[in-house]
Amino acid sequence: MSDTQTQGGGAGFDLSQFHGVFFEEAGENLANMETLLLALVEGSTDDEALNAIFRCAHSIKGGAATFGFRDVADLTHVMETLLDKLRRHELTVTTGMIDTLLESGDVLGHLLARHQGGGGGPFDCAELVARIGALTHGSAAAPPQPPAAAAPVHAETAAPAPASAVPSGGRVLDVEIGPMDEPSMADHLVELFAEIPGLGTIEPTDGGRADEQRVRRFRVATAAPDGELLDLFSFHVAREQVRIVALVDASAPGPATAPAPAAPAAPAAAASVAAAPAPAPAPAAADSAGYGFFDDSPGAPPAEVIAAPPAPPPEPAAAARAATVAPPQRAAKPERAATGTGNLEQSTIRVPIEKVDQLINLVGELVITQAMLAQTGRTLDPVVHQTMTTGLSDLERYVRLLQEAVMAIRMIPMAVVFNRFPRMLRDLASRLGKQVELHTIGEDTELDKGLIEKITDPLTHLVRNAADHGIEPPQDRIAAGKPAVGTVTLAAAHQGGSIVIEVRDDGRGLNRAKLLRKAAERGLPAHDGMTDSEAYSLIFEPGFSTASEVTDVSGRGVGMDVVKRNITALGGSVEIASTEGQGMRVSVRLPLTLAIMDGMSVGVAQETYIVPLASVVESIHLSADDVKSVGGSGRVVEVRNEYLPIVALDELFEVPRVAERDATGIMIVIEAEGGRVALLVDELIGQHQVVVKNLEANYRKVPGVSGATILGDGRVALILDVSWLVRRARH
């Protein structure tokens, strides 16, 4: 938290204790803002949406300023200024604004992540801030301006504007800036005036050089009020370093200067605008302290209390100096309810994930203890020990319920993943020149947090693929009699103990003949007798690509194989269905949690191993004749016209044997990453749920083993890494 300055030590409070809540809240506001921005279109006049977006930025700004995150507060401040003009309909929404605000949201996410100690280097927001400023102040084009490329403007070269050239209704001001660490930063102000048409003129009066106090001086002719100038100047220099003195004021009726419309947000942003010999303000104020009371208002303290002691940091002069009080036009209009912020009333508590994981571990231990007791209980005579056996079966039931309840804590809705796609598709579609609409179904479907994190990348790839390779360009779609706008649908639903996530598109679909031809060209085992499903699965083969041109969006056909591998590693599976010309559907099936797994326990000599049930295809009794030797020591077995490599677990794990193994054995066919192998074992013990323990964390990584579990009798059983076994046997 390098940029964090925590204020407020004065009352003995450590504000950093509230940072966690602030970050969570800012994250929610950012996500909310993005959703709302994505729903905006050019020229949008949806007051509810505009107010809600404004409030998101406003809320982040308030918190950031309070908790000392200056960069976040500064960026949200300029966003807020733009959004305020939009919600007041002083400006009209443009695509450029939406894009810039979305980009700003990304930058805010980056800044917040840095403050939370996340990675990423420092980020210079100056260019972005300048762009937002240009949009706010009506310079529509707003090209990104690389400061280095801009010609440095010095007093010697700049054409001095005559002091008489006062814009209509305008003023001539002396502006002092400093003391500055980098006085040359003030030259950016000259560029600012060059970029914003109608702002007025600026010329250095110090010959382009700072004085010994490192203060720079300018003369400005402008119609803009002080507040607006300060907003603009603060893109480049700190507000508190700016002093504005009016020389000529054609805008004010009397000698007083025009009041600044808005006060700065942060205390550090308190502008000491030395402009105004101000008459006393209407409200009785202790405003220099950052608060005040209306003198005759209900509940106001007696007069002697009102006079607050002068606070050391000079606070916004805007209020203290205002002579003319505007009638309260806007205040009378209550704001309407927000959209997209409807979850405020949920009664939730935030708990660190470690606490939940600890709970899950303890429940895991409990499950194991219960299994041990159950095993012992079976040896008891149910007639003699009736109370005991009843108690044990109750225990089993409640442990199961407890386990489910605890696992449910880690469950979070798929919306967390789905929410990232509207933005991604929008960017993608505009890059590809396509029109794509996203539909989501079943966002409320819940999945374990760990799985959600791991499924995000594969899903991202599938969605990207659907937009890139699936959805056709608008003209092709119209020619095919489809709507110009393509649809990508994300759907999630629970099915038994699994979740099924589908990525569907109504694009061109897969061409079976083309797939098979491509596969043959690539030397992949493809033939006309394949089922459609098998043929479609070819796209999961490493190095396979159906796009005739490689695009920078979906890459070169690497990817789908990685998608499948990642999903398999999570104990899941992928299936493809497609109708040419009508689209394609990729279904991902995942277990609901990684902490518990359905396994098949197998005996090898004295040892027990667990095979993930999801990867078991079948088990077959094997006679010695079925086994054929190939090459040196390799053995294969023929199963349904396919020769499968044999992996003898006792040899692989060097399990000591008391007696020689029978010539016959039991073979379990397992499948992973599109390949099958036959595992040779001594016996099938049974199927049950096992609590997965991380072997790496407790011991070290062992090839061929993905984890461990504790059996009912207290012994440890290793869980086989099916993907590793298949890879090893086939390559």
């Binding site: 204020q7 407020g8 004065g10 009352a11 003995g12 409070f13 504000l15 204790q17 509230f18 809540v21 602030f22 969570e24 809240e25 809600a52 404004f54 409030r55 809320s59 308030g62 918190g63 300023a65 309070t66 908790f67 009041p259 419309p261 808005a262 006060a263 947000a265 942060a266 209407a282 409200p283 405003d287 302290a289 950052g290 608060y291 005040g292 009371f293 209306f294 208002s297 209900p298 509940g299 106001a300 303290p301 209390v305 607050a308 606070a311 606070e315 916004p316 805007a318 209020a319 205002a322 009080v325 505007a326 309260p328 806007r330 205040a331 209550p334 704001e335 309810a337 912020t341 405020l344």
Partner: protein, 121 residues
């Protein structure tokens, strides 16, 4: 024990304000917006209201007006927490019936300072 109604849609601000006030011996009723405040306060009396301005559903000024029409809140100090200290804002606060304002951001010390002024010990 003096009770304070603290209304803000930002959870972190609410937490900061409540923590500060509770540590100083006040009872705090939290609300997430004007409507929530009216619901929570029900038939209770509070000694002070602190409300944010810009909130969903019901903003701070509307809340103040709704409170001031009730007899029991006629004389209750109500402070507006605001990021703007412009005269326009102040005038709006004044006509809605606010007692005063406190500019955001503020730190706990300043919050307690202003509260001690309207709620003398």
């Amino acid at each position: 024990m003096r009770s304070i109604l603290a209304v803000d849609d930002s959870a972190s601000m609410r937490q900061m304000v409540s923590f500060t006030l509770r540590s100083s011996g006040y009872e705090v009723i939290e609300a997430v917006d004007g409507q929530d405040a009216l619901d929570k306060i029900d038939d209770r009396q509070v000694d002070l209201v602190l409300t944010d301005q810009n909130m969903p559903r019901m903003d701070g000024l509307t809340l103040i007006r709704q409170l001031r029409v009730q007899d029991r809140f006629k004389r209750t100090p109500i402070l507006v927490l605001t990021t703007e200290s412009s005269d326009e804002m102040k005038q709006a606060g004044r006509s809605a019936g606010a007692t005063g304002w406190l500019v955001k951001p503020f730190d706990p010390a300043r919050l307690l300072e202003v509260i001690r002024k309207v709620l003398p010990q």
